[in-house]
């Protein structure tokens, strides 16, 4: 037992609570290249060094320095230690004073004191760096290899995202349920490779069979995104201009101070690098006039080679990729230009471009690659009519121009193969009181680009080309309520189908469906089928499923022209359906199914989605609270050549047999399972009954068999009853 306090061993407590002193030498800097002087000049030298340092914004005092001295020679050793208050200041001093020319002969070299030690003790033998194991990346298009050929869709509901497979009823299942942090909405890339989510801090891309994170783009508070058609680039937009805060990470993937104030950014998807930023605010524009934001603000050429933006009234600026430099260093100056559209590439164009690219690599490029085309329009200005121009790019030659009069508005609609361009021209009468519509249709594939005009008396509210087809559908209306929508007002519309008459080379109406409420046209991506929908109405929500080739076979239509007498006769209504409160209508990429959804972003009544087949039969209907978004996953272009596709179409019967057999087998396995289940149920029942009967027989046997006898003595008595109801005697007089 210790007698006094001193006897107690406090060492453990001291060890526990001992204060750790800052023993690091990180705040010490070694300055090399100091002039070698003798004692007398020391003071003067230190003062001079301090002055030099403070000139570059680093304040040191002579007290903080330590000059090692060679006593034998009576001179200093030519270097100096400086203590700073902390490591940061030391770093700042190194950044400022390293390689500083003190005088003609002496240049300062600054280093951390610790570094000197570290480099002195460095292992001089070369150690080979370990090579990282190569892990193959997941195939981003793995979903296309689904053995059942199913499509996928994503649904976003509440805070929950689900990705589903969709096929035959037995094949529909959940593909993935990601746990993503809160985001604004989801979007597929145009070929379906990635799915993008918009977070507070930027955009994230996900993909591959395990839905791993693929890429991110740090654009804070991003609101809108747009992929380039070949998925090489991404455009993002935020309301707030870009601000680069102090200490923000630097690098090719981040905004630099030059980008401040802009709010559109272009990114390279594969590398994640920022390519360029733009501002949506046009210089010298009256800020009080708020323009509606046009989205996409940047329009991509279909081959991802150019991206263009319009400065309304002034010019179209085309940028080359991947450098994002202005093409030929100058914009297309077009007085008064309002809008433009790139001409899409047809499948054939793409094939040729691919061929040319491979040939080009071999050094003998065959045919010339067709140039990109774009169409733009300018409104009427004094003494000059409105004008639609078809321009070839990058040669910048004008291919065709058409003058238009009394134009109040134009809209450009390209057919998805770039075969036709329809300019929907809203024209006003001389009095400017009523508006009617002309459709100016350019046949782009023909020589000299002939233009056909379809004159209509009504206002056209929606226009849609049949994909890969020669037909289009329009929604027109002469309803007086058009233009002043109000609650409970349903606008009456007419829907018309037109087709190119190859004999006369003009577009003739196939059929007009009058007195509808439909306001949206949705062509199947494969053509032929079209759905007319009434969306955004509180009282009507009809869907009509039409087939435009009900009578004639698919092949017929493509090869020859339709005979005169059945012009328009093959249009057939396949079915009608109703989805209350529908806000979005979308075909799946195969054109077999249609999805309709009622999103909580628009209203809160009966949110949910439904999937229909092309005939209008309901397959799935889910009413879900807080349902927001339904999106089919797009598919890339087929890899099969035209010939291969033709071959498949020819042998369709053989292919379908395989599928039918599969269906048969599937239903059989279901049946055998069901049959076995039933068999078991029957066996159980019969066993129970047999047991009951046996017990019963034993019981009655005890009570006596006399009752049984009674059952057997069944007597059949047949009784004939003749009943005389009335007897009348009549005398017949001859």
């Amino acid at each position: 037992m210790p007698g006094t306090v001193d006897d107690i061993d406090f060492s453990d407590i001291e060890a526990k609570y001992s204060v750790e002193y800052e023993e690091s030498l990180d705040n010490t800097v070694v300055v090399d290249g100091v002039p070698v002087i003798d004692k007398s000049k020391l003071e003067k030298l230190l003062a001079k060094i301090c002055k030099e340092f403070s000139r570059r914004g680093i304040s040191i005092k002579p007290d903080d320095t330590f000059m090692p001295w060679d006593d034998a020679k009576g001179k200093n050793k030519g270097y100096l230690f400086i203590d700073f208050r902390n490591e940061n200041e030391a770093n700042a001093a190194i950044a400022a004073m390293n390689d500083h020319p003190f005088d003609a002969k002496h240049t300062f070299k600054l280093n951390h004191f610790t570094d000197v030690e570290r480099y002195a003790n460095m292992n001089e033998t070369y150690a080979e760096p370990e090579t990282e194991e190569y892990t193959p990346r997941e195939h981003l298009r793995a979903w296309l290899a689904d053995p059942q050929g199913r499509d996928q869709y994503v649904i976003y509901r509440g805070e929950e995202v689900q990705i589903h497979w969709h096929g035959k009823p037995s094949q529909c299942e959940l593909a993935h349920k990601p746990q993503w942090e809160p985001f604004l909405y989801v979007a597929w890339s145009p070929l379906g490779t990635y799915i993008a989510t918009l977070h507070r801090r930027g955009v994230r891309l996900w993909g591959g069979p395990s839905w791993k994170h693929q890429q991110r783009f740090a654009h804070p508070l991003v609101k809108l995104i747009d992929f380039s058609p070949c998925e090489n680039y991404l455009v993002t937009w935020a309301v707030e201009p870009i601000v680069v805060p102090e200490g923000a990470p630097q690098g090719p993937q981040y905004f630099s101070p030059d980008d401040e104030g802009n709010n559109i950014a272009v990114w390279d998807i594969k590398s994640g690098d920022l390519l360029r930023t733009f501002s949506t605010n046009v210089e010298n524009e009256n800020p009080s006039v708020k323009r509606q934001l046009q989205w996409p603000a940047l329009k991509w050429s279909p081959d991802d080679k150019f991206v263009a933006r319009v400065t309304p009234g002034q010019m179209i600026s085309v940028y080359e990729l991947p450098s994002m430099g202005l093409h030929e260093k100058k914009s297309l100056k077009i007085e008064g230009v309002v809008d433009f559209e790139w001409c899409p590439l047809s499948d054939k164009d793409r094939d040729e471009a691919e061929k040319a690219a491979t040939n080009g690599a071999d050094g003998r490029s065959g045919k010339k690659i067709p140039e990109n085309k774009l169409a733009y329009w300018t409104p009427e200005v004094a003494n000059q009519p409105a004008r639609v121009t078809l321009l070839s790019f990058p040669s910048r030659t004008i291919l065709r121009q058409k003058n238009l009069f009394n134009v109040s508005e134009c809209k450009l609609y390209w057919q998805n193969q770039g075969d036709f361009l329809c300019v929907k021209v809203d024209r006003h009468t001389k009095t400017k009181k009523s508006i009617f519509c002309n459709l100016e249709i350019f046949r782009v594939r023909e020589k000299d680009y002939p233009v056909e005009v379809v004159e209509l008396k009504d206002t056209v509210t929606d226009f849609a080309w049949e994909p890969k087809g020669e037909r289009f559908a329009i929604v027109s209306s002469s309803d007086p309520n058009l233009g002043n929508p109000g609650p409970g007002i349903t606008i009456k519309t007419d829907v018309s189908f037109y087709q190119l008459d190859r004999g006369k080379n003009d577009f003739k109406p196939l059929r007009t469906l009058s007195n509808r409420t439909s306001n949206a046209i949705r062509w199947s991506p494969r053509g032929r089928h079209v759905v007319l929908a009434t969306v955004g109405s509180s009282s009507k929500s009809e869907l009509e499923f039409w087939d435009l080739d009900f009578n004639n076979e698919d092949a017929n239509r493509r090869e020859g022209q339709v005979a005169k007498d059945d012009w328009g006769s093959s249009i057939q209504l396949l079915g009608t359906a109703d989805h209350y409160g529908v806000t979005d209508v979308e075909w799946d990429p195969s054109g077999r199914y249609l999805a309709t959804s009622a999103s909580a972003w628009t209203h809160t009544l009966e949110n949910g989605y439904a999937i229909w087949d092309f005939r209008g039969q309901e397959l799935i209907k889910q009413i879900q609270d807080r349902f927001k978004q339904f999106l089919w996953r797009p598919r890339p272009r087929t890899l099969l050549s035209k010939e291969q596709q033709k071959q498949i179409r020819k042998n369709l019967k053989e292919y379908s047999r395989v599928f039918e057999e599969e269906d048969q087998r599937e239903s059989e396995t279901v049946n055998t399972e069901l049959l076995a289940h039933r068999r078991r149920l029957v066996d159980e029942w019969n066993a129970w009954r047999a047991r009951c009967k046996k017990e019963r027989a034993e019981q009655t046997g005890q009570e006596g068999a006399h009752e049984k006898k009674k059952e057997d003595d069944k007597e059949e008595i047949e009784v004939w009853v003749d009943e005389v109801i009335e007897q009348i005697e009549e005398e017949v007089v001859e």
Partner: protein
């Protein structure tokens, strides 16, 4: 399957019953009278008229000689089937809700209502079958009050002196009438009042229907639930179809709820369910009110349903009913 419409009652039907041969159909209703009909053509043979209140229940013995009825005028009456004469009347403090003959026709069990301070009681009377049947003892041979929830339906089982009862709470129980002792019970057979209980021809199993929208087949010895049929409407009656593996369920929304609930019609159909697979196989429409009672011909050739609308519809089954093997060729014991 063209039904024969029996329009002999002015108010809703409470129970219908075939005799053992199935040539006669007895019906009782809230309009105080009972009718007997020829099954094959729907001709009315006669009425039994003496009760002074809703006739809740009826049963006929196996020889079609005597019939008993229970009514809201607190009486249990014995009738001569052939003459329509009331042979004997027992009086109780409360209404009679259910009567049933024993297998040997020598006993009758009856349930009286729990009301006005009187407990629900189950009484068994010996029936003196000798003579013209007017000489009956006034006192029951056995009487007891089931403890707990009141009994709503009952029937004699195959075992002597044991009855099976259905209760308001949804309980199904076995009682020894001699001692009044509850031999066995299944408290959770149903979750709402048991509305009907019908025995199989050999009395080894029974089917119960309930307001909980389901019907169940029970083993009458162990009270084990063998099958469950779940519908979307409260059920008032369930019957077993002899010789065919079906059960018939009838019900519908309560008349008082028809206007306040769904826009769709009140589901007043007779539902045919497969007895073993527990799947619905068909429906027969016709009544425009809930179906209160269903009875099937003992040979399974026809069935009758009585509804809240006051009609009895007798359906003779088509040939296809007997020939169609819905689930393929399976031998299912009756």
């Amino acid at each position: 399957m063209r039904p024969i419409l029996l329009q002999g009652h002015e108010r809703s039907l409470t129970q219908i019953k075939f005799n053992r041969e199935g040539d006669l159909l007895f019906s009782c209703s809230k309009d105080h009278v009972m009718n007997v009909w020829y099954t094959h053509n729907g001709e009315r043979l006669g009425t039994y008229d003496a009760n002074n209140g809703t006739v809740w229940t009826v049963d006929v013995d196996s020889e079609s000689q005597f019939m008993v009825s229970g009514a809201a005028d607190n009486t249990l009456r014995l009738w001569n089937v052939a003459t329509g004469k009331c042979l004997f009347t027992w009086e109780f403090p409360t209404a009679v809700k259910r009567v049933a003959f024993s297998e040997d026709d020598k006993q009758v069990v009856c349930i009286t209502e729990q009301r006005m301070g009187h407990q629900c009681a189950i009484r068994v009377f010996n029936i003196n079958r000798s003579g013209d049947g007017t000489k009956q003892s006034k006192e029951p041979v056995h009487m007891f009050n089931p403890i707990g929830s009141k009994a709503t339906v009952c029937a004699f089982t195959a075992q002597p002196n044991i009855i099976v009862t259905g209760h308001e709470s949804g309980k199904v129980a076995l009682f020894n009438v001699k001692t009044g002792e509850e031999i066995d019970n299944n408290e959770r057979a149903h979750s709402d009042v048991v509305t009907d209980l019908q025995l199989s021809p050999d009395k080894t199993y029974c089917i119960t229907s309930s307001k909980d929208k389901s019907a169940r087949i029970h083993d009458t010895k162990t009270l084990m639930v063998i099958k469950t049929f779940t519908t979307e409407t409260p059920l008032n009656s369930a019957a077993l179809a002899p010789n065919r593996p079906y059960v018939l369920l009838g019900g519908g929304q309560e008349a008082m709820n028809v206007t306040t609930t769904s826009l769709r019609q009140g589901k007043f159909e007779t539902r045919f369910w497969h007895k073993v697979f527990e799947e619905e196989v068909g429906r027969v429409k016709g009544h425009f009110g809930p179906i209160n009672t269903i009875a099937v011909h003992p040979k399974g050739t026809c069935y009758a349903s009585g509804g809240e609308d006051g009609f009895v519809r007798v359906h003779h089954f088509d040939d296809s009913y007997f020939k169609t093997e819905l689930y393929g060729d399976l031998q299912i014991e009756d």
